[in-house]
């Protein structure tokens, strides 16, 4: 397994009040994303565990875009990856942020 960590500056703090959200499942080409609060409102920390080695540059690109485009400030995000494509990763991250905004 490869473990990656990205500590990113964000532009917009996360919305909603939900403490935790989980989207996706760990399956081939899929991933689960656990979102929790607890970081400073201008940063977002993303931890990734992936069985696919050597894709750090792609994770870097996807997470950087996510932090720039989404309301992710203050979030601590943990990813269990099942070998998902970058488009699936981006979709799950976007879904997670939306879910945090929704009432429980």
């Amino acid at each position: 397994m490869e473990n990656l960590r990205y500590e990113l500056s964000t532009t917009t703090p996360a919305g909603g009040t939900r403490a935790v959200a989980l989207v996706g499942v760990v399956a081939s080409g899929n991933l689960e994303v656990l979102l929790e609060r607890g970081e400073a409102p201008d940063r977002c920390v993303i931890d990734i565990a992936t069985p696919a080695h050597g894709f750090a540059d792609l994770w870097q690109a996807v997470t950087a875009d996510f932090a720039a485009r989404s309301a992710a400030g203050g979030l601590r995000i943990t990813v269990n990856d099942g070998g998902a494509r970058p488009d699936t990763v981006a979709l799950r991250l976007a879904q997670g942020v939306r879910l945090m905004e929704k009432p429980e």
Binding site: L58, A61, V62, R69, R85, P86, D87, T88, A90, L91, A94, Q95, R98, L99, K102
Partner: protein, 548 residues
């Protein structure tokens, strides 16, 4: 004195040779090989009917068994190179030259044989283009066709899968060629006359139906959330603003997802009756729920689809059906309809380059074109206006004089940035160019040329190429929806943001699309069984698609 009827006399000689092995027009199946040896001559131009769906399979098998010492160097002019026998005849020397348009399952072997010199290639065509040449410089001397049934006089019933048959017969029979049909049975009276007996010279009773490939069946169970997101982008970002009512869909999962979102997402957007009412389309099972919920007014079909026969028979307002009640498809007419009377083509592709050229060639495969380039091109001969066509023309040329400004057909390429096996859809250089080099082709096999493409839709967004004012803008618009492919990551971020401000690029958030909606629960049917239930049990999927 010049003999003005050499072709007619040639056919007469073949007729006489054939009659010696026939009883009236009927050739017995066991005499078929000897019969073909009697009527075919070396170097003949032969159309062996077959496309991406129906196949004259019994005639193909028999042709592969003729003695190459008697019949050789044939010039095959046919839509589809699909069955193994279609290429076996080049291995044995029965055939030498080939003009075709589609070779799906044989795409790797045909490339090897072209490279090895076993096949002398004329050209790879679109369907409509090859049909056109049947009437100009590739008129068959012999056509080997397929029908459901014949009567004793030779009237043919081609049934729902009529497809290419009328076109092939028209060119061959009136061009003084010989028409030989395989039929599933010989009956006292055919259900309807698709081909009149006087255009048919011989009939072979194959005693079983011709082969049909269920090429247009997409199992909703395989549709992904990314495809659903991409489909939402297409519906909200293109179908809605342009108000596209007349259209053609390709066969991929992306367009299947669109079909399955019309009754849910489309309904929510209030688009029913405003888009997707008139189609040039094969009977896609995934369109059943939209038809059932009243979205669709009319569909004309290139061919049929296995299992859809009874459903179409029960929906005569929607489909073109004959006096017998069954579908009448016609590939040439439907291709023409798709080219001239549709305002949109949307289909998937495997590779798009920085100029927007797209190709389905990857590796050493010559897959041919089929009909997609006919749908996926702007009809320069079109003269009738429609709102989507005029709007697209105005976007492309905002300062032109309205009364002199051509409209534009919406030609949309849709897909995920990474396809099967994580292959990127966006590339710096099409694999088709390497193939053209390797096989020494004059033209690289480009499916849709960049100057015909108006929009590209991926999960990252919609790129409107009509609004691009120069080559650089176009390239950055394409890079701007290319996701995390190498091409996408090499974008000029500032320029892409400017294009986004001008709505040349629109992202899901720009269109108010919630990523949480990208869920399979948004599909109106999630399985083949759901489609069967939606049809009221009238759709009978082939066994390979059943899991109940």
């Amino acid at each position: 004195m010049r003999d003005w009827n050499m072709k007619g006399r040639d056919r007469q000689a073949r007729l006489e040779a054939g009659r010696r092995l026939a009883s009236g027009k009927v050739v017995a199946a066991q005499d078929l090989v000897a019969f073909l040896e009697a009527v075919l001559r070396p170097g003949d131009r032969v159309c062996l009917e077959g496309d991406n769906q129906k196949q004259a399979d019994v005639l193909a098998k028999a042709l592969a068994k003729v003695d190459p010492a008697k019949v050789h160097d044939l010039h095959m002019v046919q839509s589809g190179v699909v069955l193994p026998e279609h290429l076996d005849i080049f291995e044995t020397g029965i055939a030498r030259r080939l003009d075709f348009s589609y070779s799906g399952p044989q795409s790797a072997r045909i490339a090897r044989m072209m490279f090895g010199g076993r096949i002398e290639l004329g050209a790879v065509h679109t369907y409509l283009e090859l049909f056109a040449r049947y009437f100009i410089d590739l008129t068959p001397q012999v056509a080997l066709i397929a029908a459901v049934s014949a009567d004793r006089a030779g009237n043919l019933y081609t049934g729902p899968n009529t497809e290419d048959t009328p076109t092939v017969v028209e060119a061959t029979s009136f061009g003084k060629g010989l028409v030989i049909a395989q039929v599933g049975e010989i009956v006292d009276q055919v259900p309807r006359v698709d081909i009149p007996a006087d255009q048919v010279h011989f009939v072979v009773n194959a005693q079983r139906p011709f082969y049909v490939e269920p090429l247009f069946t997409r199992d909703p169970a395989a549709i992904t959330e990314t495809q659903i997101l991409t489909a939402m982008l297409a519906i909200k970002g293109l179908y809605a603003p342009y108000g596209v009512r007349r259209l053609n869909h390709g066969i991929g999962f992306n367009t299947a997802a669109i079909e399955l979102l019309l009754p849910t997402y489309g309904e929510r957007l209030g688009l029913k009756g405003k888009v997707c009412t008139h189609w040039a389309l094969n009977p896609h099972p995934t369109l059943i729920p939209a038809i059932e919920s009243g979205w669709v007014e009319q569909i004309h079909c290139f061919g049929s689809e296995v299992g859809m026969e009874d459903y179409m028979r029960a929906r005569p307002d929607i489909f073109f059906t004959g006096p017998d009640g069954s579908l009448r498809s016609n590939r040439a007419f439907c291709q023409t309809a798709g080219l001239y009377a549709c305002d949109m083509f949307i289909g998937s592709t495997l590779q798009i380059d920085l100029a927007g050229n797209s190709s389905t060639i990857t590796g050493s495969r010559v897959a041919g074109f089929g009909g997609a380039p006919n749908m996926g091109s702007d009809a320069r001969g079109r003269r009738h206006p429609s709102a989507p066509w005029l709007r697209a023309g105005q976007e492309a040329d905002p300062t032109g004089a309205p009364a002199l400004r051509r409209g534009r057909k919406l030609v949309i390429q849709i897909g995920e940035t990474f396809g099967d096996g994580n292959a990127p859809m966006f590339v710096e250089r099409l694999s088709a160019l390497d193939l053209a080099d390797k096989l020494d082709l004059d033209l690289a096999p480009v499916m849709v040329y960049g100057d015909d493409v108006t929009h590209i839709v991926t999960e990252e967004g919609v790129a409107n190429l009509l609004l691009c004012r120069d080559k650089d803008e176009r390239e950055q618009a394409i890079r701007g929806v290319a996701g995390y492919t190498e091409v996408g990551r090499a974008r000029d971020r500032k320029m892409v943001e400017r294009l986004r401000e001008r709505k040349v690029i629109q992202r899901p958030e720009d269109l108010g699309i919630d990523p949480l909606d990208a869920d399979r629960s948004l599909l109106v049917a999630r399985s083949i069984k759901d489609l069967m239930i939606a049809s009221g049990g009238l759709y009978r999927p082939p066994s390979r698609f059943r899991n109940w």
